[in-house]
Symmetry: C2
Subunit: 230 residues, 2 copies
């Protein structure tokens, strides 16, 4: 590359965007915010930020995740780069999209509301600014595939959860209904969940047993290239 050519190459901006999945025990949701400035003022869109030419994309996305999920060490993975020429009216912006999963509780919902953000139902995503609908569609597909092979569903649930909650999560993510008995069989066979003494009676008259994810066992198994089950 000749020095005089540099400016026709080095004139692009980077942004990162985040598809943050949350599950409230009932429904799978995605965090959206309302755009404050131009372009697309007032439109809903994904959390996103520009990255300066000397900034690390990884640390930028980690910050974005922390701001919105209020937790560290959660599951984050890059989706891909969205790079269409005219996706942003300000100039050429390459968006590197990520997704992450978080346990959705009242504290976090409140935090998001205070920031003017909203946890929108998985199946009710409105038209968004830029190409963010395309990004969400891609993220949903990725989640579907991942959830089949790795127990990332567990990262979306509270520490203690009922089997019904887990099943609802899988049903939403995979977009199909499952048989209760077969589901339980599969889950218990996986040996990845531990029964606790606790119960939950928020959803039913009869109270349900609460379980937790056996992270230690999963670590061991995943070292051996373990593949999950659905």
């Amino acid at each position: 590359m000749l020095p005089e050519e540099k400016e026709i190459y080095f004139s692009v901006a980077i942004s990162v965007s985040l598809v943050l999945f949350g599950f409230d025990g009932e429904k799978l949701r995605i965090l959206l915010r309302k755009k404050k400035g131009e372009p697309f003022k007032g439109a809903m869109l994904l959390p996103a930020t520009y990255v300066k030419y000397d900034e690390s994309v990884d640390s930028k996305i980690d910050k974005l995740v922390f701001i919105h999920a209020q937790k560290e060490h959660i599951f984050v993975e890059q989706l891909k780069a969205f790079a269409k020429v005219f996706r942003n009216p300000l100039g050429r912006v390459i968006n590197i999209a990520y997704y992450a999963t978080v346990k959705l509780d009242d504290t976090l919902v409140k935090h998001s509301k205070n920031r003017g953000e909203e946890w929108v139902e998985y199946s009710k995503i409105p038209d968004l600014a830029f190409d963010h609908n395309e990004i969400i569609d891609y993220a949903k597909e990725r989640l579907k595939r991942r959830v089949k092979r790795r127990p990332i569903g567990f990262y979306l649930l509270p520490e203690h959860f009922t089997i019904s909650q887990l099943q609802k999560l899988y049903e939403t993510a995979l977009n199909r209904e499952m048989d209760k008995r077969n589901f339980r069989k599969k889950i218990f066979n996986s040996q990845l969940i531990i029964e606790t003494d606790l119960t939950d009676n928020s959803a039913s008259k009869k109270s349900a047993k609460l379980y937790k994810f056996d992270e230690e066992k999963y670590e061991k198994l995943s070292l051996k290239g373990y593949d999950f089950l659905f």
Copy 2:
């Protein structure tokens, strides 16, 4: 973004790189070239090119694929963006990596040789310039996953191929040995290959039947969200 801020954002370059997989009937290979100019002069690396601020990434990667594969309509998919701050000494360059698969024949090997490029064995990739080893590792993982679920293996073989060739391809991509009888059973059950009248006796005294991929049937099945088998 304020106008005076624009230059700290719009000062990044994009490049695309290509992990081109080829299979010669015996071995799975990846196309590499030798770097001519600085930086990293003389080092081996992936085919790659810079993308101008107003150029389409898609058309740039299509061109790159065509130059090296000499065919159109081959399987190409984005891997992800590689975005480390110091991956390129010229400045901040975001590399959007792709992979593609091509049928490797003598004509193409010659073409590559004329261009000073080399088809290097899948398991013998040397140390490369930039972060290209990381990109190849990522591409291998993706190929492994894809090959299990979609018959992309067929795109790597010549139009007519023997079952042994197909098995070798799967064994290399998945990095494990398979039982001949079970492999054949699975492949024939998939109903995706058609027997031809042709035979091949290049690899053995006893000649082997040649088969071809039933693309039409695959199109139909893939519309229904069909998943392959390994």
